[in-house]
């Protein structure tokens, strides 16, 4: 016996966890085991799913009206103008890979003889399997999208979406299979791109058939001025 014995969670244990009666120390161990154990997650989902109808016995209770705005304030703090250094400090804390991708887009626009009146917009769209950087040129209205990591499956396309506060995602187009895609941003999106979130999903060849995302969200990134 070289490995520390790992606890076997029988069905009654999983039920005890779902019910909430599992003693606290055991509960913490179970929670830790859940993280990397897909089969255990599924067994728990099964109990949760079966138990959930019991909440039909509860009478709905409206939370106080200000609670939503408190939650929103926490999740979406009002964007304040911050210096580039502060932003870099924040991003430095992100993954090294993300930072490398960011550095590429931060440096690149500065090398170009860009007009000075408008601040360039950049985003790093990141997820487990992709890293894509994007920089927006407000003068010619193009988005330069550069793939650092990630490849679509044979019958799929990566589709890029703009999500502005309080709006449904709007497609900007699908990425070409090569490294770089230049996308002409539709007129309606130009005004909302600053401060929005960019997201990439995988979609059937040619893009989402519905006009709304149908695939997996592979990564997201905030559009920031630099």
């Amino acid at each position: 016996m070289s490995d520390a014995p790992r606890q076997i969670w029988d069905d009654a244990c999983v039920g005890e966890y779902a019910l909430g009666v599992m003693p606290y120390a055991e509960r913490l161990r179970f929670t830790a085991d859940l993280k990397n154990d897909r089969a255990l997650q599924m067994r728990l989902a099964n109990w949760d799913e079966n138990f959930a109808p019991m909440t039909g016995a509860l009478t709905d209770l409206a939370p106080p009206p200000m609670l939503l705005s408190q939650i929103e304030k926490r999740l979406f703090p009002v964007a304040r103008p911050v210096s580039l250094f502060q932003r870099l400090g924040f991003w430095q804390a992100a993954t090294a890979l993300g930072f490398a991708a960011l550095a590429a887009v931060v440096i690149m626009p500065q090398l170009l003889p860009a007009p000075i009146e408008t601040a360039p917009l950049v985003a790093v769209i990141q997820g487990e399997t992709i890293v894509v950087s994007a920089s927006y040129n407000s003068v010619d209205g193009t988005l330069n999208v550069s793939r650092k990591r990630g490849t679509e499956a044979a019958n799929e396309d990566f589709e890029l979406w703009v999500i502005a506060a309080n709006n449904a995602p709007v497609s900007v187009g699908v990425l070409q299979s090569g490294k770089t895609t230049i996308i002409k941003v539709p007129e309606a999106l130009k005004a909302i791109i600053a401060g929005s979130t960019l997201a990439i999903t995988n979609e059937p060849d040619g893009g989402s058939p519905t006009g709304q995302p149908t695939g997996t969200i592979l990564g997201t990134g905030l559009v920031l001025e630099i």
């Binding site: 989902a45 079966n50 939503l68 995602p169």
Partner: protein, 186 residues
Amino acid sequence: MINPVEIEQLIARVALGDRAAFNALYQATSSKLFSVTMRILSNRSEAEDALQEVYVKVWNRAASFAPNIANRGYSPMAWLVSIARNQSIDLIRQRRGGHVDIEEAFDLADSSALPEAVTIQKSENREIARCLATLDADRANAVRGAYLDGQSYEELAQHYDVPLNTMRTWLRRSLMKLKDCLEARL
């Protein structure tokens, strides 16, 4: 009343960072989830704090969850309820450190007396109700007390006036019977 497909669509949009969808999801589901946290925590300000945490988690976890709700074995509402319950249970267990003083246990026991059980039987309308009905009334009520009120083994043992270990043996047996019954529907 919003249907499960609509909730699922809202969660999928929340996963993409759509704030309007988050707002709509909150409007559609917060009364339900607040009833869950309030019932377990029996304290308004704690229940409100817990609800905040729940929706922060919903926002943060939607991306990993939304693309494959079905693959994970959850219906959207059961997913939301499980987040609300786990948040409340973790809080209450932490607060009490597994130890409950006797007066508190009695208060909670009183609050889940019989009239409640009648309401429950009226509104449980799925397999779980059918299967709970196959258990002795006491044992079915222990399952409900644990699930709805967040009662611990200590509290249940107090309520049913049995030793802690006996309570655990009871409940684990009840769970296995429930599982057999729930699987028998297939």
